[in-house]
Symmetry: C2
């Protein structure tokens, strides 16, 4: 008996009457792919979780400025100080998060970390436009509302954002959303917002109730399976019950700090390019023969921004 | 440094100004808990994935009639024939599904399995009421639309359903939805709908585009972490590239077939009870001090029906 997606495979290779979303993204012209800057890439190397360097590697893309830029400046400082080296994955809670940092809670933080305000969980729409970057676009996915949690969704330089009002006007706010693979900043009770030293990645259904309650700072773009397949912790909230269960972190580095030969390069299709609307449409209505009733809609976390590794230097 | 949900822990134990959703569900009066019938519970025992019987166990709750009842009759027949004994977990695709069945695709199926029509992916609203069961209720979660994929959502005997029209009228259709932990039936291309011998469980963000394209037959209620933490397959679509990577299935049994002393018992709170609306409201607006900006909404897959194990026999 063929499994259901073996069937889909037949149509990945040739003769598909309509291409699937991945195929559409793959065929975006070179000019629509945006290279991720070296200073936006964090490489985390885990201890002993795989037999090759690649199998121990998790790559995180940090969000573009001005989103969460206070926390991200802290994270760059922590990485530059090699602060995470020797820390560990301490918590794996099923259908929720993998969390890492200093299990002892006693390791001194490097100097110069900023205290970030809760006001920075969201930001004015105008801040995006003023950055000189590609302006954001709203993308209503399908005939039904685009989102249960917000008035609208959009993409900005490779990341999904939510927004609180449909018309573009002064006062409109935008904020990053929690999807599978999103990376956020652990914190204590309000008004604490976290320094960035304690991070987590989402390994389950999108916990959108965390939006605007915790800073989202990036997403895992390679090696997500290293995190998501870790044994779940049996302590409260999925913390590992014993120190021996923790997975060591050998190092966390910004790619910009690595020797040129070791730098990893990735790119994503621009959300203002010609291909993006076709990709969104294909996520909304999967047109492979396997799908007999296209959904006509897709939630923001079901429209992941594709990533491709770029083998040569930029 | 305290991790962000250590903070939340403080409020789980006492003196919380407002109880969280789990606390609300836990305090539902005994009369609101509905025992899951023995014939609706499947116990899958995995080979060698844990050091105790409990750690090798995955418990699946099958949907109540009349939902997906053709496939579920097949699944009961397969379980009664001990058909899955000696089969394996063959596919683990990150942020998607774990899939199991006969990797050889040659094991003869037991006699008497029915061929189910695609028309049974959804069913008329009236079929639920006619079953004599608790009638379904619509639950619009928050001021914003309840769902991106359907006109409305509801719960029926412990399971979330979607529906295609808001007013209750002749012709309204309802169907089960794909959430984290949902169990569905692998199939080939249309018009095949699968026999039930090849099953999968969702281990990522809700793949709602599969709704009405594949039969949903139940959900994992215990041992989900056994499935979700399995190493991801490196073959196409997450299939294990080599037979040695597969995880053996020792047995799959209906609880109704087990000796009385070995039967597991579980219960869920009725969606027509007094507690359910309070639970939904608490999922929509998390009122723990940790959440400074309650979401005011929750998608259907972010409102999981709580389950509790019942230690004594019914």
């Amino acid at each position: 008996m063929l499994s259901f997606l073996l069937a889909a495979m037949f149509f990945d290779v040739a003769d598909a009457p309509a291409p699937g979303p991945s195929q559409i993204a793959d065929t975006a012209p070179i000019g629509e792919w945006i290279a991720i800057p070296d200073e936006d890439l964090l490489v985390m190397t885990l201890a002993g979780s795989g037999d090759t360097a690649a199998k121990r590697r998790v790559v995180i893309e940090l969000m573009p400025a001005p989103i969460a830029s206070g926390w991200i400046a802290n994270i760059r400082r922590l990485a530059a100080a090699h602060w995470w080296d020797g820390t560990s994955i301490n918590r794996v809670q099923d259908n929720y998060v993998v969390q890492w940092g200093d299990a002892s809670e006693k390791k001194p933080l490097p100097p110069g970390l900023a205290t970030i305000s809760e006001l920075d969980y969201d930001l004015p729409w105008g801040a995006l436009a003023q950055s000189g970057a590609t302006p954001p676009i709203t993308t209503n996915v399908g005939p039904r509302p685009a989102d249960v949690y917000a008035a609208g969704v959009l993409w900005y330089r490779g990341f999904p954002l939510a927004t609180d009002a449909k018309p573009v006007r002064q006062g409109r706010r935008v904020w990053p959303v929690h999807c599978y693979g999103s990376v956020g900043v652990g914190r204590n009770l309000s008004p604490d917002t976290g320094s960035g030293a304690e991070l987590y990645a989402v390994i389950g259904h999108a916990p959108r109730h965390l939006d605007r309650n915790i800073a989202v700072v990036g997403r895992v773009i390679e090696g997500m399976e290293q995190l998501s397949s870790m044994p779940r912790g049996t302590g409260d909230l999925g913390f590992y019950a014993t120190p021996g269960e923790r997975v060591g972190i050998t190092s966390v580095r910004l790619v910009s700090e690595l020797p040129a030969a070791d730098r990893l390069h990735f790119a994503y299709p621009s959300s203002t390019g010609m291909t993006w609307p076709r990709y969104v449409a294909a996520r909304r209505n999967r047109e492979l023969p396997f799908f007999t009733r296209p959904a006509g809609a897709a939630d923001v976390c079901n429209i992941p921004v594709p990533i491709k590794a770029v083998p040569t230097a930029k």
